[in-house]
Amino acid sequence: MPSPSRNQPVTRAFAPPTPSDRPAPARGERRIRGINPVAKLAASAVIALGLVVTIDWVSASIALGLEAVLLIWSGLSFRRIVARVVPLTLSAALAASTILLYGRPSGATHLEVLAIHITDGSIELMVATFLRVLAMALPAVVLFGTTEATEMADGLGQVLKLPPRFVIGALAAWRLVSLVQQDWQFLTLSRRARGVGDGRGVRRFGGQAFALLVLSIRRGTALATAMEARGFGGRSHRSWARPSRLRCADATLVFIALVLVGVALTASVATGHFTPILAQ
């Protein structure tokens, strides 16, 4: 430790103890985490593709209801679910409001200003859209929230047999994304320090975004060199340190997804609300 000079007093600063930041997962969550990511992907795809064919509130609400039941039964922590659902709800609301204002008109008109055209039909479409976005996205949000990116890459490479170079390369690049937020903060602070931080503006945002892109590409290039130095990218066969296999639980999840979609669509057809999107 360097010694102080000029006999000045040395000030010391102390750090408060940091709390542990890795709580143990709940039992239900462990079960969900144990499911193969490829199965989760398949289940989300089944639900999304199944619900996308129709835009009506019956299928969407039934699907959403069943999903909620499954969520509660699965034992996932309620707080975590809510934390994930809130941004999704906002996004769904935004999409729904767009439909409300600009959707296909039918039925009685309530408001008509410039291109905005609110009618009975568009209100119904808005409700349907809101529920549909939630129903389609909720499984994806929950299932992928319980999956580590590394696990997903292992699954894609071993189960789906996608080329490992692409899968692992994308995984490594994805890890860089977590650094983006910190970079952005520093970029903003440095613009304040340089004297150009007053006032916002598209131009400043664009300049900062461009700088962020440059930094990310530079880091990506360095990362690629480090990966090559560890033997990555060669033509020889690669082994997998973490096994990824399909088991009963995985098939069960996909089966549940199929049943869910089947019930929702059947109800929609049965009540006559089935409105295929392609027939618009």
């Binding site: 999409a95 600009y102 994308a170 892109l213 590409i217 990966m227 027939a279």
Partner: protein
């Protein structure tokens, strides 16, 4: 090791290097963030256009095909345009999950538009006209995709205006705009491992 002459165009190596994959992923994520931001902001911009002339709103949709053009111009390998556009679609979906899996499908189709142009030039043409053409082709692919999936009941006039606007938007925003972005990146020196970063500014 090869002892080839030192110009940008040595052996036409079409195999993807590790740095190609990683940087393509980085660009894909960046484009995905841009798409996500545009998803939130586009409505008030496109609505007045739609009022002026139904179908004209696609004049600002070129933003959504810029990923494929930039990816192709930087990486310059087969499949770059499709891969980057698909990754961008995944990222923008993952964040907002608005239209879900359909976004992925349109990502592939749009990337394919640019990819076909780059293929037509045998992955050797990378100047501004090629970029504009690739952007236009992406716009065309996007228009076709949208008309079939979302606007199937529209009349022929709407379809025509929509398609032409999308092509122009793709050519200008994605093609020329994307080309400018790549040139700016090249000037910062981060692309030295790519041919795009070693060319003289006139190309």
């Amino acid at each position: 090791m090869d002892t080839t002459t030192v110009t940008g165009r040595t052996s036409l190596n079409l195999r993807w290097r590790v740095v190609d994959i990683v940087v393509a992923s980085v660009i894909g994520v960046a484009a995905g963030l841009v798409f996500f931001a545009w998803n939130q902001l586009y409505a008030p911009v496109s609505a007045p256009l739609q009022v002026a002339l139904p179908g004209l709103q696609s004049l600002v949709y070129g933003v959504w095909v810029i990923g494929g053009v930039v990816g192709g111009l930087v990486i310059r390998k087969p499949g770059a345009a499709i891969l980057v556009e698909l990754l961008a679609a995944i990222v923008s979906t993952g964040l907002g999950a608005q239209w879900g899996f359909l976004t992925l499908e349109s990502g592939i189709v749009q990337g394919l538009g640019a990819e076909l142009v780059f293929l037509a030039f045998l992955y050797r043409g990378w100047r501004l006209p090629v970029a504009i053409l690739a952007g236009a082709a992406s716009g065309l692919a996007m228009a076709g995709n949208d008309l079939i999936l979302y606007y199937a009941g529209a009349d022929a006039w709407f379809a025509l205006v929509y398609t032409v606007s999308a092509v122009i938007s793709g050519a200008v925003i994605a093609g020329a705009g994307g080309w400018l972005v790549v040139r700016a990146l090249a000037r910062t020196g981060v692309l030295t491992r790519f041919e795009a970063g070693r060319e003289s500014p006139s190309s």
